[in-house]
């Protein structure tokens, strides 16, 4: 048997503890699979006082990340502190020192991916980031290897567990957005500051990585059209249900090799579609390839052990490469060269079906005014729900589902409609997928 392969962790928070637990408690299993032991050599954290889910042995602890990076026995550095700095500097320093790197840092990779990748390419090290998208689900592996023979036609991901938990609670238990958010926080499914989860940014970071893996170009956050779930109203969830749909926060990546749409926004998904059955904090990515057809990958998108499972799968992959002398066997983003000419489709050109909820005065002719403007913009209506008179209400809702239309036309039409004196509140617009 070869020499053990040394692993060092930077960051001993929840995920770090999970990784340490797996490396220590499943050491024998991992040795059987890798062919040599994986040694946890050093763990850096700035605070060793707080309570942890796993007791990291005292002799492994340090407060200095440099001690991990520079340790001669450490071949694989695992960055789990999150955020941009100092995570970025640690990763670059480790790569410069000839270490391989594993990270779960989606924000860093989505925002500074090119800078890090340049160093990876130059230094010939391996970079693993399976844990950065969809927690324990091996979706990056699937895109990099399992579905490698496919042109990706489309990906539809529920990749933010917090948002999905909130939407599920609203739908299943009739809670308001704020009530559902409070529950998510109480149960630990949402952080104290849940902004990035509910405004779609976290999902957009992950969408950047998924799109880059699928289309051979390193995309960036501004390439993604992002809308969050802050404005989702329980009434829209109910109307959607009435029409046979469930509202999900979706990451949508689709297109040809020449042009791709990357967007994150709430969407109506047919209630019969597998994605609409993905409940609570679970994640799922529906991937359609030109050869394989539709596939789906489902599992826990966050949490200590699911995320640790993904981190350790990266450690094992790199260890297997080290053992067979094959570092950089696979390009980090699957393609050898990330200079594909694929363009991002401007949001204004995106085609979709639309759900619209108008808040209008309860007067004759309202429907025809709205339908008229939509018609002028080439938008045709598939179905309408108009609830009867609601006395004591300032306005009544009119809900419409359109046929396929162009985003730009829809936005222009709504701007006109929202100026009508009969329209009391800005119109709610949610796209329909599938």
């Amino acid at each position: 048997m070869s020499n053990p392969i040394g692993v060092g962790l930077i960051g001993a928070g929840t995920i770090g503890c999970g990784v340490a637990r797996l490396l220590l408690e499943s050491r024998e299993l991992l040795t059987q699979r890798v062919g040599t032991p994986l040694n946890l050599v050093k763990v850096a954290d700035i605070d060793w006082e707080r309570d942890r889910t796993f007791n990291i042995p005292e002799d492994l602890r340090t407060t200095e990340a440099e001690e991990v990076i520079n340790h001669p026995e450490v071949s694989i550095v695992v960055e789990l502190i999150g955020g941009i700095e100092p995570a970025k500097s640690f990763i670059i320093e480790a790569l410069n020192k000839g270490k391989h790197v594993v990270t779960a840092n989606k924000a860093l990779l989505a925002e500074s991916g090119k800078e890090i990748l340049d160093v990876v390419m130059r230094d010939g090290a391996d970079l693993g980031f399976e844990a950065s998208v969809a927690g324990g689900i091996p979706i990056i592996l699937a895109l990099r290897e399992g579905l490698v023979a496919n042109r990706i036609v489309g990906m539809y991901g529920i990749i933010n567990g917090t948002a999905n938990f909130i939407l599920t609670k609203m739908e299943d238990e009739n809670l308001s957005f704020n009530e559902a958010l409070s529950q998510a926080q109480a149960l630990g499914y949402a952080e104290a500051d849940p902004t990035l989860d509910i405004n779609g940014t976290d999902a957009a970071h992950k969408a950047v990585l998924l799109a880059s893996l699928a289309y051979g170009r390193l995309f960036q956050l501004p390439d993604v059209h992002v809308e969050g779930i802050e404005e989702i109203d329980i009434r829209d969830i109910r109307y959607a249900q009435e029409m046979g749909y469930t509202i999900k926060l979706l990451a949508i990546i689709k297109g040809e090799q020449e042009q791709v749409e990357i967007r994150v926004h709430p969407a109506l998904v047919p209630s019969q579609h597998t994605l609409s059955k993905v409940k609570g904090a679970f994640n799922a990515i529906y991937v359609e390839g030109d050869a394989v057809g539709p596939t789906m990958f489902y599992g826990k998108g966050a949490g200590e052990m699911p995320t640790a499972s993904a981190v350790v799968s990266d450690i094992v992959a790199i260890a297997r490469n080290i053992l067979s002398g094959a570092s950089r066997r696979t390009a980090p983003f699957s393609y050898r060269n990330l200079s594909n000419g694929v363009k991002v489709k401007p949001m204004s050109e995106v085609e979709s079906r639309y759900y619209m909820r108008f808040s209008v005065l309860d007067k004759p002719g309202v429907l025809s005014s709205i339908a008229g403007i939509l018609g002028n913009h080439g938008i045709s209506i598939e179905s309408v729900i108009q609830k009867g008179h609601q006395t004591h209400r300032e306005s009544v809702p009119v809900v419409m589902m359109t046929h396929h239309a162009i985003e730009e036309h829809v936005q222009k039409a709504l701007k006109e409609i929202d100026k009508l004196p009969i329209v009391v509140h800005p119109t709610v617009l949610i796209r329909v997928e599938g």
Copy 2:
């Protein structure tokens, strides 16, 4: 760029044509991902007269498998003729000649896996068999790499599309088994001789491979308890539905590292469970790992292009190994050593809940006789459906769901019950999972 890597196919049936199509039509995409072109060098088939879905260029065709195996430019031999011989001889010959091998042949691997693996181990070649289980779903990759940090707690697979198509048709369209089978044959979802699909053998072959990947021992067909769907009656589907269940043909692999159950049989799955939503010819494997928790992998389990997608993913993985000089980077069954001491749990010791349909005379005291015998064997009843008097019928059905019980006790109890003079037909027994 390195030299192209040569690929040769043995078998130009449906899957072979799909593989040739991908290698030729997606050549550029594959080159971008591998870093060097994959050259289709030679394709062997005994019959070049019949109609094909893809026109394989004339200069690639041969009728001699040896021409593929011995071709100096072929590094990777893909066996797609199926069956035991001559597939086995071709594979062993190719390995002996230093070629890497990709196969979709689950029957061969399940029945002669050890023999082939011994040659693989000795010759240091790579063996890919992603396409042998669940078609386009990268489940072998997931077990070998993505979930490598996990002890597998359980796997529940719908891995025979023909059987699932038949059961779905029966449930959704109220067809009899024979009507559903005829439809499956008419639509090409079942072969002229569907025996191995409906009697569970095909799923058992796949279960052998999944269990071996998960538990580090090479299992064999006799290790699997197999029952097919031939006896499933539309009445059982309806009673199951009434109690909130769907009947699926499941491959069940579960256990600890010391002892594992491997069985294929129809099972009642809760209608709310994701697996019960897997319809028609689709496949899905629900995998629970000790770290990752529950995951699910879903997609097309058969067909030309989905299966070709899996075959080509193996070709790419091996090509990446060749390029980085890292053949045998990963052990074929994930574990370096397949001599784990894990035992197969005897079926008699398996614990399950049970659905029982008794066909009894419509007389007083029937229920108490049956319940008495069950009670004597320590089997307690969770619920009963007893339909009212059905005149003009020789017998009436009594349906019971039990709490957890031991298979041996259940079999003994049923033997006694079926001897009662009030019992008109042998009792129908279906296990309940989840």
